[in-house]
C-alpha cells in the first residue's frame, strides 16, 4: 500500500513537471481551430507541421541558426581560453584564492548591471547587431563558469603524468595539448555542453544587442507576443525548435548533469 502510494505520488509529480512541456509541443502541432477552441482540445487530432513550415517560409527559423552560431562559436572560444586559465589556477596557484573568488563572482553578477554600459561601448565601436559582438559577450559571460568547472576536472588529473611528460622533454604547451586536454576530455565535453546551453538559452544580452541581423530564437519568441496573443502557433513552434536541441544535448550527458548544474559542488 505504501509502495503503491509512492508510485502514485511519483506519477502526479511527473505529470506536474511534464504536462506544461507536453502542452507546448501539442500546441505546435495543432491547427488554429484546435488552438482557439473552447473548451481546450487536449491533443491534436493529427500531427501536422504547418506551424513549423510558416517559420521556415518567413525566414523566422534563421533565428535558431543564429543561436547556434553564437552559442557554438562562443563555447569553443570560452572552452580553450577557460581551460588553459583553469590549468594555471590549479597547477601554479596563480592569483591564489582571491583570484578564484573574483572569477566566480563575475559569474554571479546580474547581467542587467553590466549590459547598459556594454551597450554604450558597443554603440561606440559599432558592434551592435553583429555576430562578433555577441560572441565576444557570450564568451566573456561564460568564461567564469568554464574556468570554475575545468578547475575541478583538472584537479582530478594525476600530476605524475604531466611531470613525466615534462621530464621527457615536452614543452609546457605540448603538456597541455598532449596530456591535460586528453585526460580531461570527459570534463571538457560536459562543460562545453553546459556552456553551449547557457549561451543558447540566453535572452537579455541578445535582446539588447541585436536588432535584425543576429536575432536569437529566444528574442524571436518574444516578438510573437502581440496585444491579443494571436501568434500562439508561432510561439509554440519556435519554442519547440529552441528546446529540442537542449533536450537532446542534455540527454547525452546524464552522468555529468548534477556536477554541471551545481557548479562542481557535487562530484559524481
Amino acid at each position: 500500500m505504501v509502495i503503491l502510494g509512492r508510485y502514485l505520488l511519483a506519477l502526479s509529480v511527473l505529470i506536474f513537471f511534464v504536462f506544461p512541456i507536453y502542452w507546448l509541443f501539442a500546441i505546435s502541432f495543432k491547427t488554429p481551430e484546435e488552438i482557439f477552441h473552447f473548451p481546450p482540445v487536449w491533443y491534436p487530432q493529427k500531427i501536422q507541421f504547418a506551424n513549423y513550415w510558416v517559420l521556415f517560409k518567413d525566414g523566422d527559423a534563421t533565428s535558431v541558426w543564429n543561436s547556434f552560431i553564437l552559442a557554438g562559436s562562443s563555447t569553443i572560444i570560452a572552452m580553450i581560453l577557460g581551460t588553459i586559465c583553469a590549468y594555471s589556477l590549479v597547477r601554479f596557484k596563480t592569483g591564489g584564492e582571491n583570484f578564484a573568488v573574483w572569477i566566480i563572482s563575475q559569474r554571479l553578477m546580474p547581467p542587467i548591471a553590466i549590459i547598459f554600459p556594454i551597450f554604450l561601448l558597443y554603440v561606440f565601436f559599432g558592434w551592435v547587431d553583429s555576430y562578433g559582438g555577441l560572441i565576444l559577450l557570450y564568451t566573456a559571460f561564460n568564461l567564469p563558469y568554464v574556468i570554475w568547472m575545468m578547475r575541478g576536472y583538472i584537479e582530478d588529473i594525476p600530476i605524475e603524468l604531466e611531470e613525466s611528460a615534462l621530464v621527457d622533454g615536452c614543452s609546457r604547451w605540448a603538456v597541455l595539448w598532449k596530456v591535460v586536454f586528453p585526460m580531461a576530455r570527459a570534463g571538457l565535453f560536459a562543460t562545453a555542453v553546459f556552456t553551449f546551453v547557457f549561451a543558447w538559452n540566453e535572452f537579455i544580452f541578445a535582446l539588447v544587442l541585436s536588432r535584425t541581423e543576429v536575432t536569437t530564437y529566444t528574442v524571436q519568441v518574444t516578438h510573437y507576443f502581440g496585444g491579443q496573443s494571436n501568434f500562439w502557433a508561432k510561439i509554440a513552434a519556435m519554442s519547440v525548435l529552441g528546446t529540442v536541441p537542449v533536450f537532446i544535448t542534455v540527454a547525452t550527458l546524464q552522468r555529468f548533469l548534477v556536477r554541471g548544474i551545481s557548479m562542481g559542488a557535487v562530484k559524481g
Binding site: L24, W42, P117, L166
Partner: protein, 304 residues
Amino acid sequence: MAQSFASVSSAVRRSPQMPDHNFRYWIIAPSVFLLLLIGLFPLIYAFVVSFQQITMTDYDTSFAGLVNYQALFSDQRLWESILHTIVITVIALPVELILGLALAYLFLEKMYGKQIFISLIVLPTVISPIVSGATWRLLFDQRYGPINQVLSWIAGREVVMLWTIEPILVYPAILICEIWQWTPFMFLILLAALSNVDKSLTEAAELDGAGFWRIFLKIELPAIWPVMAIAILIRGVDLFRIFDMVWALTGGGPGTYTETISIYTYVQGFRQFETSYTAAIAFLIVALMSFVVTWAIRRMGLAK
C-alpha cells in the same frame, strides 16, 4: 604538490620563445583581459556616467555630483521593483528548497523506472526561462488554457481566472512558473547529495531507535549542507536578477505591478533612455550584489 612540480620543471630545458616562469601568466592573460573588458570596464564606465546627466535628448557630460544617487532615494518605482524582487525570492527559494528535498526523499529509495522519472522531471530546468514563461502564458490563458479548464472541472462550474492580468493572481502565476522550473534543479542536486550520505551512519542510528527527523537533523542535514548552501546561493542570485521568465509571462505588468529590479533597469535604460540615471541604478545593484555575494561565497566556503 606545487613545490614538487616546480622543482621538476626547473630541471627541464626552457624553450627560448616562451620563458617557463611566465607560462602561468601567458595562459591566464586572455581570460583576464576578456573579464576585465566585459566585467570591470563597464562598471568603471557606469560609475563615471552616473555622475553626469546624459539622457536621450541631452548629451550633457558635465559632472553633476550626486544628483542621480539622490534621485534613487526618492524613486518609488525603483524601491517597489526591489520589493517585488525580494517577495519573489523569499517565497520561491524556500518552497523550491523544501519541495526539492521532499522529492529527493521520494526518489531516494529503490524504485522501478526511477531513472526515467528523474530524467523527465529535470526537463523544465534546462529549458530557456523565456520559453518556460511563454509556455505558462499559454497554460494560464483564461479561455483557451487548460488550467482554468481543470479548475472548472474541480469547481463543477465555469471558472474564469485572469492569471496574468488580475493583480491578485499575477504573483501566484509567476511563483508557480518559477517553482515549476527550478524545483527540479534543487531536487537533482539534493538527491545526489543525499545519495552520497554514508549509509552505515543512518542505519546505525535507525537501529538505535532514532526517528526520521532525528536522523535528518543530526546526520543527513550536516552531511548535505555544503552542497545545499551552494544550491541556495546559485538560486538566490538567479532569483535576485530574475528577468526573462517574468518578461515573457507578464512583461512586468499589469502596469508596473510585477516589475523586478532587472526589468525596471531595462525600462529606464532602453525605453526611457535615462542614461546617467540607469548607470546609477546599475551601480547600486552591483554594490548590493558584490557585498552579498562575496559574503556568501566566503561564508559558505565555496572558494575552497
